[in-house]
Amino acid sequence: MRKPLAPDTRTLVVRILAITLSVVAALAATVLLAEAAIQDGLDAWDVVRSGLIFITTAWLAWGASLAFSGLPGRAARLRDEVPAAPQPPTVVLVPICNEEPVATFARIAAMDASVQAAGVRADFAILSDTRDEAAALKERHAYVRLLEETGGQGRIFYRRRNSNRGRKAGNIEEFIRTSGGAYDFAVILDADSLMDGAAIRTMIARMQADPQLGLLQTLPRVIGSRSLFGRAMQFAAAFHGPVFTRGLARMQGHTGPFWGHNAIVRIRAFAESCALPELTGRPPFGGHILSHDYVEAALLARAGWSVRVDGAIEGSYEEGPDNLLAYARRDRRWCQGNLQHMRLLTAPGLSAWSRFVFVQGIFAYLVSLLWAGFMLASIAATLTAPAPDYFPEPHALFPVFPSDRSKEITALVFGIAGLLVLPKVAIWTGAALSRRDRGFGGTLKAGLSVLTEIALSSVIAPVMLMYQSRSVLQVLSGRDGGWPANQRGEGRLRWRDGVQAGLWISAVGAVTLLVASSVAPDLAPWLLPVCLPMLAAPALITLTSRRLGRSLFDIPEERDTPEIVRLYTVTHASWQSGAQGKAPQATPETGVADAAL
């Protein structure tokens, strides 16, 4: 086994700066809180609160440092890279499990046309883990139609496993065990992924050019969202995502991320280092590794391969959840998968940074519990605080009032809010200067979208905090949430759905506010920004799932629809309506041409 690649100087500098910023911000927050908290004497709750504010602020500052690391400079466009001849054999893997077959196979038809237009020779392998026989039959019909319309016999394959051992990771592993020797590279997709031929061509060229590169991850753009929630997420991913990803790439260096799809792997590297064992014990901590992608990236790095992310590769798309409940359901799965990584923190041979990445993933969920703990500790500290002593000196003529520490608390609140808001404002400023905001409706409209997204994410944050805290407690107490299939295309929610899903959050918010008002009235106003959105949880869940026009949250893909998206839309519509005819053809000049309807 080769040694993990050492980080270069630039990567080390970025890491040191980010860690320094996080520690300094956390220390400043802790000092401000401690100064306010210990004016009536130091007690155990003050120590707990100080510890919690240190950790949570460090986490927020870490997120901000990712954005700041990605701000300087602009990545070059990479669309024109061409693989050297002879082109290495490449396969596009599409693992599916109980997906809607018309949409899934229409995407493959579109990608096949785009790949051929780009002059890339790539096979497609649809790897089905669908267990339901009726759904599997629909898949087979859709596959036959796909072959008919693309002429894809001999280059578009379909196989269904007898058992779905290891879920998606096991599905890909089984393909590599039986067919991996036929290919040099595999592009791994999700059922809702779309990648154009030029993007795949660039990725192959990059893999060819760097023999140490084991995996190259792209940043998929979220497309197709229609609701307020979905469009806000879609905008944030398109506007802020590239900067955060550039920061991530600079910080992670050779030990980059794998997000499970829209990435290319070197099959030899993947085969020699990524066969995942089952962990001892039962789920949620034992059994199959759920968040397998993080682990596969760490194992590739352990075996001496480079893992990179490049957000500048265009033509990579996916769909996102269109309402808060779908998001929370996905988050529940990710929460269990990330917490399972606690078992892997001491895995032999991993690089220190890979372990740190696991810690970050675990923390992404634990931090909700820590914020909730901070709130409860603040209420407890107020409850147990001694009564003010206005005459500490006997026989004093004048009372001594406790010094006012509102300034420190206000500074703390603004500092924490600043860590959340400043990176986004900085990204907006950068986009205005570089004119990147033109694709987002111009400087003003992009600015309005940024502010609205900040407001919306602030309002739904307490609701998400509750869902995440519940998920963490469920996992820590041993409850396995399984890994149910995504419910794609689910959008508008009824009021009944919102009330059913959010009533418990309203109840927790009401109780918290009532208790705080009765036992610590001074603290109650500070809790309002958290408790009011909790009270309104059913309304937030329902209303944010409602359709939003293009008044806000424009993204470049809506203003100028990418060819691959247009091709997929046309193919999907054609298949849905049952229209017969040849599949849309792509042309080398444009990537794709209009569908022959």
Binding site: A182, L276, V295, S477, Q576
Partner: protein, 65 residues
């Protein structure tokens, strides 16, 4: 509403997977990776035999059978 797919004319409900549907047969070795240290693995096994791995044994929302 789920979209309906019109069936291709030559297929019927008894559609069967054909040999050419399968990807090429080109086996590749994929050695299973070690992620748990042997000692931790043995300890975890004995715990698993007893009641399954659990991060926080004192906090249980449901009774295991």
């Amino acid at each position: 509403m789920k979209p309906e797919l019109e069936l291709p004319s030559q297929s019927d409900l008894d559609i069967v997977e054909a040999a050419h549907w399968m990807p090429p047969h080109a086996p590749m070795e994929m050695p299973e990776q070690q992620l748990e240290r042997p000692r931790a693995r043995a300890a975890a096994r004995s715990r698993a035999r007893a009641r399954g791995w659990r991060f926080w044994p004192s906090l249980s929302f449901r009774q295991r059978v």
